[in-house]
Assembly symmetry: C2
Homo-oligomer: 194 residues x 2
DNA sequence: TAATGACTAAAAAACATATTTGGTCAATAA
DNA sequence: TTATTGACCAAATATGTTTTTTAGTCATTA
């Protein structure tokens, strides 16, 4: 089999497990077994578990990126306010994510990824919200539960978007606070328009 | 010794340990040893460890309440915007706190407090911020680290109050996000004034 | 009535043992 | 050479067992 083919089969299998069980509860044996290969072959194509995970993230990011550009360029009417705000947030959240405690705890606690993977990860979270909006009530992507969903929910409320099922617990928890903050943001946006 | 005297000595000793080590890492033996009494005496005055802790909280709340009223009624110039907002938040945060995960995890996981203690606890957190502002750079009260400090920090930034040392890590983590939200709140307050 | 301290049951900590898992590598098939 | 295997290892994790700690009791005492 061609190198690229096997590589993408591995990534595909790995994606299933990582997105279902997370990094630590996924084993290399499982991934190999799923594609009917010996574990050693994974280490022929990838240096380590982290590098494979890295590859999975990169791949997911590319999918998400293309989805994002489609959304942003299609429905200009309903998303115009959101888009404006979102593009501002891209820069603002960047730094915050580098220090995001939950993500660090989950992924960087014991394993030290190279810098550019962190960058990609940051981008991944920034883009997350848009995808959630598009997917509606579908279950989220990789580790959605770990994302700073409060901020995301605020943005949904601001834009009058229905809260997906899997975020409704979080929403109920801080309902009044979120609504308060949301109305402030809306007011702020209105002021800026004048 | 009079009953009330001994009771308050116990509460005083207990407060030191609970505020330093938290509920679980404080032992009844320690508290008794500190006041040179046998452990049994604690159970003569209090039904259980929880009831003693309960009493400690009530006592702290009373201290804090009196401090709060002093602050609110003294410096009207510098705190007027904050006070306005803070009084609104008192109602808004109420519900959110009843579902505050970290607090629940720490205190209600294994022990079931009576309802009115939860109410008191909710009030305790709401009042917390004001106390932090007054105390400036001093270390916080009981379990300060568990408080939803992000919201508190936002409020500090809004009001141009210096971030205390023990909250600066948290601040650095979300610096840009906090500044963004803060400017929105400030704008919103300005709009409301017109 | 107020206080003691030995006592208990249950939880937590410490310790020891067994299993799992990321990663290697010599052998081998294509 | 290139791609794949699977036994093997060290380290981490899980499991089971023993020891210690601790919340709470109670008969006794001052």
């Amino acid at each position: 089999m061609k190198e690229i083919e096997v590589k993408s089969i591995i990534v595909e299998s790995a994606t299933k497990f990582f997105s279902k069980y997370g990094f630590y509860k996924t084993t290399m044996d499982e991934i190999a077994k799923q594609i009917h290969k010996a574990k050693g072959v994974l280490y022929y194509y990838f240096k380590s578990k982290e590098e494979l995970f890295n590859e999975v993230l990169k791949h997911e990011l590319n999918v998400i990126k293309s989805e994002l550009s489609q959304i942003v360029n299609s429905d200009k009417d309903s998303l115009i306010i959101f888009k404006e705000y979102f593009l501002t947030r891209l820069k603002l959240l960047h730094k915050a994510l580098n220090y995001h405690e939950t993500l660090k705890a989950d992924f960087f606690e014991k394993y030290h990824f190279v810098k550019d993977v962190r960058e990609d990860f940051a981008e991944f979270e920034r883009i997350q919200l848009t995808i959630i909006l598009k997917k509606g009530k579908k279950e989220g992507y990789l580790e959605v539960k770990n994302i700073n969903s409060t901020v995301n929910i605020i943005m949904m409320v601001v834009n009058g978007i229905e809260i997906p099922l899997f975020l409704q617990n979080k929403y109920a928890e801080y309902e009044t606070t979120i609504n308060e903050l949301s109305s402030m943001i809306v007011n702020s946006l209105r002021t800026q328009k004048k």
